[in-house]
Symmetry: C2
Subunit: 336 residues, 2 copies
């Protein structure tokens, strides 16, 4: 590979001049600039980003750590991040923690070692210290989807509690009596907030909260399946269920189908998060929809702003969810 010195020699200027031409900040004699550009083209010179990063002590790479690449919620979010990032001149490296604390920790370490310019993360565990270390060394951290108290960073969330309340109230309004809830692991703010919304809705309607109707699972498809099975097997006899994320909704529905239970005839279903191709699934599923793409955009915008002004006040953006009523929770109008 040609270096800046090779270019300099060929253009008969100093390496400094080459650097200046390439970075375009300072004024350079047009004649020299042209010679440099010619030499660059002739040699096929490409700047070594590693050397540049070492010298400048910073990269133009953002690290994005999401907790599940296979969940369409996150991939849509990533699209939002990418669009903003590339408009702002950054590249995005996506990492998949797979809800695995060890992998997450690993990727945080890589971001630190590689001097990432910024990190956007949907935390799947409580690596508060690691994240703060990152922030201290000048790599701003933005949390998305999930909150992690004690981390010095901006965050983008949705009104989880409100969304869960809407979902549950809707089931109450539809006349269901034994409404179950399948939520995620206690360590994740989304899981606990959605559970809180469920409880709040019951309380507001004067209903008791029956703990036998609540399951904490793992936000994965199989987790939803197992939780649903456990609800049915242990005699809680739900006539409706609120599932706190999209993959668990799928799992729960598979469990119901396997047992020959009809939706919503035997058990009604409302899920948090949209499912892609919702229109191909029968029955179509009532969901609490999040603005996933916009969450990604918002996170990226916060990151870009913080890089520009490191001492900016910490901000927390909350976006809104929306209840989309479909067939899985509306028993009356029987389809022909």
């Amino acid at each position: 590979m040609a270096t800046i010195y090779d270019v300099a020699r060929r253009a008969q200027v100093s390496a400094a001049t080459v650097s200046r031409v390439l970075n375009g900040r300072q004024t350079v004699d047009p004649l020299l600039a042209e010679r440099v550009l010619d030499a660059v083209a002739e040699l096929g010179y490409r700047r070594n980003a590693v050397a540049r990063n070492l010298r400048k002590r910073q990269t133009s790479l953002w690290t994005v750590i999401i907790s599940d690449v296979q969940n369409p919620f996150f991939t849509s979010l990533v699209r939002g991040v990418e669009d903003v990032a590339s408009a702002a001149g950054y590249s995005v490296a996506l990492c998949n923690s797979d809800e695995n604390p060890e992998k997450e920790s690993n990727y945080i370490a890589v971001a630190l070692a590689e001097q990432a310019a910024g990190l956007i993360i949907s935390p799947s565990s409580r690596h508060i210290e690691d994240l703060n270390l990152l922030a201290e060394t000048g790599c701003p951290v933005v949390m998305v989807d999930r909150e992690l108290k004690g981390v010095h960073g901006d965050s983008v969330l949705v009104d989880n509690e409100h969304g869960a309340e809407m979902a549950t109230s809707h089931l109450i309004d539809q006349g269901y009596q034994q409404i179950a809830c399948i939520t995620g692991p206690r360590r994740l703010s989304t899981a606990t907030q959605r559970l809180r919304g469920y409880r709040e809705a019951l309380r507001a309607a004067g209903r008791p909260v029956d703990e036998a109707l609540v399951r904490m699972s793992n936000f994965r498809e199989h987790g939803g399946y197992k939780a649903m099975a456990s609800l049915l097997d242990e005699g809680a006899a739900p006539d409706a269920v609120f599932t706190a994320n999209n993959l668990m909704t799928v799992g729960a529905m598979e469990c119901l189908a396997e047992r020959g239970l009809s939706i919503p005839g035997d058990v009604a279903v409302v899920g948090f998060d949209e499912l892609p191709w919702a229109d191909l699934v029968r029955p179509s599923i009532t969901t609490v929809a999040q603005p996933t793409y916009d969450e990604g955009r918002a996170a990226a915008e916060l990151l870009a702003k913080r890089i520009a002004q490191p001492d900016r006040k910490l901000t927390r953006v909350t976006l809104h969810t929306e209840l989309r009523v479909r067939a899985s929770s509306t028993p009356l109008p029987r389809q022909g």
Copy 2:
């Protein structure tokens, strides 16, 4: 941030010794090693990967460029890559070209500038020269899913033609007469190979290939929708359709549903690629399934091998597809 010199000073050794301890290749007096490790812990020292990469002239980062993060086919593939990569001590940075040649080109340039240790790509355009440049500078390239002739690199493919043939023959066997085909853009090998398999199956059955029944679209959901609409509107009157990827299958089905056409009663459907949650979709869809996860693994294994032995013979791995017959192509057993 502490540097290696800070550690050296604290441990009262030279920087070289610290480096040796950290890299563990050479033998170091256990006493000194312990002092070094203590100093590392006390200072919270973390090695600067950028400096290390500059000096070693190589990274431990793999770049993976896929053409659509939102397509579950690719996310599953990425999981395969990740598992092998992390076992081999590499980190994976995922980039989404979004079937956009410009974005792709950009990410290739980044991989080059950042001195990636290797690149796995599902090419969405014909940047043959860029990829060869990469390969020449010591960053091996592995192509996956799609073939790009003239690129110096290994590749992992599936038997696209055979899969398409199975799909089409199956429709013929089921008695369909007017079998349409919706495939992807001509520049992608997957699109042309699957089209070829479709034609081959018709020919083998002694059927004419009616070009009015063929559409080349873009491998996206909306593309499948439009192609299906065009088939219906322009009077080709298909009674079955073979769609050459998963997203277009969804689009085509949506189009059929919108027009009140039943599947498979009015039009049968067989799609290439599995759909996630295929069991929730009604009717369930007959597909040509690919071993997506294994494709990722295979690509990663080829990359690891090539890094170990740069002069290894170029190899091309072909994995097998499998026809999974479901309800969308089997008219007879009417479901109650």
